[in-house]
């Protein structure tokens, strides 16, 4: 399973990329999109919204069910991926690239220590699939 080494992860299968600007970009992992398959709808947070680490921030729907996407860190939402709202299948096609979901301007740097490293996340999904 594809777990890029330049990202941080959550137990709930979100990935997070720290940008030079200080913002972070959030999406769901290859493992998560593989489990969901057939993504047909994405509901993104409103721009400007304040979100809290661990709270539901977006929804990704497959044909079979709707799944909450949790905020990996607290902060406000400066922008969302309008393209993925129009073409939800981008989550399946390119989950670490064009299929990103929303950005966060983090309110604290302390929360990052609670995220998983690529090695930790890879171990977690390996454990869950065996």
């Amino acid at each position: 399973m594809d777990v890029p080494s330049d990202l941080l992860y959550t137990k709930t299968h979100e990935w997070l990329r720290r940008e030079a600007s200080g913002e972070v970009v959030v999406g769901i992992t290859a493992h998560a999109q593989e489990e969901l398959r057939d993504v047909v709808f994405v509901e993104l947070p409103t721009v400007g919204k304040a979100i809290k680490q661990g709270d539901p921030a977006a929804v990704v729907e497959s044909v079979k069910a709707a799944f909450d996407i949790y905020a990996p860190v607290s902060g406000t939402v400066p922008r969302v991926n309008e393209a993925v709202a129009k073409s939800p299948q981008l989550v399946n096609q390119d989950c670490y690239g064009q299929g990103w979901l929303f950005a966060i301007a983090p309110s604290s740097s302390e929360e990052f220590s609670r995220l998983l490293s690529p090695e930790e996340y890879a171990r977690q999904i390996q454990a869950s699939t065996h």
Partner: protein, 385 residues
């Protein structure tokens, strides 16, 4: 967990398996949407051996069936089939099923897997005269071969007059002995066939159909796409869209009911309901875009008198995203005054309201009609629970 005779095939194909009423069945092999499209555009092969196969035979088989089914079974000629319902005394639907007349006094009855034992008990209890009811499911399979290429591919493989078989007709497959039959029925809204076979024939046929059909776009199809296909075709699912507290009139299945039959179980309740009127009606609705309507969600509408605000008028029972019509579809029950095609309803998803329109079922009207976008079609009688 129960397994079908094709379980090893599903495993070998890498299917994602699911528990369906105690049966370990394929949910999908590659992707629900891909498998859905394969059926609409080419060919899909389904293992539906979880469904119950009952044999009703004997001198009084017909009076027995006529006493418990809402349809007039005497109208079903040899080699023909009929979609019908079995009701309790309150007019509630015990099961929806297809009855195939194999011989003068021999009927094959295909029932929903979750209702198999209930149905057998009910038929036994209401048996008339010389009637034998046998559950023949053990050792037998059912394959559904569905899609525009179904007739062409099956005709290459079987020594049966496949293309000559009319809708809702059944014939023996001579090369496979007296216990193998093919019928032009299905649960997808596309053209197609269902094959009722001993397990060893089913295993061989599964392999042959897929190897012959692969180059034409044939795919194995799981229960996930079976569900999205049947929703697109406006077909109700027992236990989801109707149960023993739903009457045929509420479920919009009036056309199955031979109300002029002297008697059948549940008739009095139906006659009473016809006089008293309905409190809810089954509808289909579509959204132009947005989330997928799912079972249990509220349906809202503006007050008919133009009053302010919306109120709850019904509940969603089934929904999906249609990859063919490219929009979310839903079915459910609303107060009768909101059941007319064209009526605006709103579905509540995560406390937000999304606008939808009531449309005539089926959403998908079949290859021929869909291609020409003909005027709204009559409801498809192609149902297989």
């Amino acid at each position: 967990m129960n397994k079908t005779a094709l379980h090893d095939r599903h495993r070998a194909l890498g299917a994602k398996m699911t528990d369906f009423h105690g049966w370990e069945m394929p949910l999908y092999y590659t992707s629900i949407l891909e498998e859905h499209k394969a059926v609409r555009q080419a060919l899909g092969v389904f293992d539906i051996s979880h469904m119950g196969q009952l044999l009703v035979t004997g001198r009084d088989a017909l009076p027995t069936l006529n006493a418990v089914m809402v349809s007039d079974i005497s109208e079903v000629g040899e080699g023909r089939a009929c979609y019908t319902l079995m009701l309790n005394e309150r007019g509630g639907i015990i099961d929806d099923l297809i009855i195939y007349r194999l011989g003068t006094v021999e009927y094959l009855v295909i029932v929903n897997c979750g209702n198999r034992s209930t149905d057998v008990t009910w038929l036994q209890e209401h048996r008339v005269g010389h009637t034998t009811i046998t559950d023949i499911s053990q050792g037998r399979s059912i394959l559904a071969v569905q899609g525009p290429l179904a007739a062409r591919v099956l005709e290459q493989i079987l020594d049966a007059k496949v293309a000559g078989l009319g809708r809702f007709e059944i014939a023996p497959i001579r090369t496979m002995g007296p216990e193998a039959c093919i019928a032009r029925t299905g649960y997808t809204g596309s053209d197609g066939f269902e094959l009722f076979l001993p397990d060893h024939h089913a295993r061989r046929l599964w392999d042959v159909i897929l190897s012959v059909g692969r180059s034409l776009g044939a795919q194995p199809v799981g229960l996930g796409a079976r569900d999205t296909l049947r929703v697109e075709a406006g077909l109700r699912l027992y236990g989801t869209d109707m149960d023993d507290r739903t009457t045929p009139f509420e479920a919009g299945l009036d056309w199955t009911v031979a109300i002029n039959k002297p008697s059948f179980f549940g008739k009095d309740a139906l006659v009473r309901q016809r006089q008293e009127g309905l409190s809810r009606k089954f509808i289909g609705f579509e959204l132009s875009q947005g989330p997928v309507p799912r079972a249990g969600m509220e349906l809202m509408a503006d007050h008919a008198d133009g009053g302010a605000g919306a109120r709850r008028v019904g509940t969603v029972t089934s929904g999906t995203f249609s990859p063919i019509l490219n929009r979310p579809l839903g079915m459910g029950y609303v107060e009768p005054s909101f059941a007319k095609p064209g009526t605006e309803v709103m579905v509540t998803v995560r406390s937000r309201q999304y606008k939808g329109t009531v449309v005539r079922l089926p959403f998908w009207k079949g290859e021929a009609k869909q291609a020409t976008l003909a005027s709204p079609g009559i409801p498809s009688k192609q149902v297989g629970g």
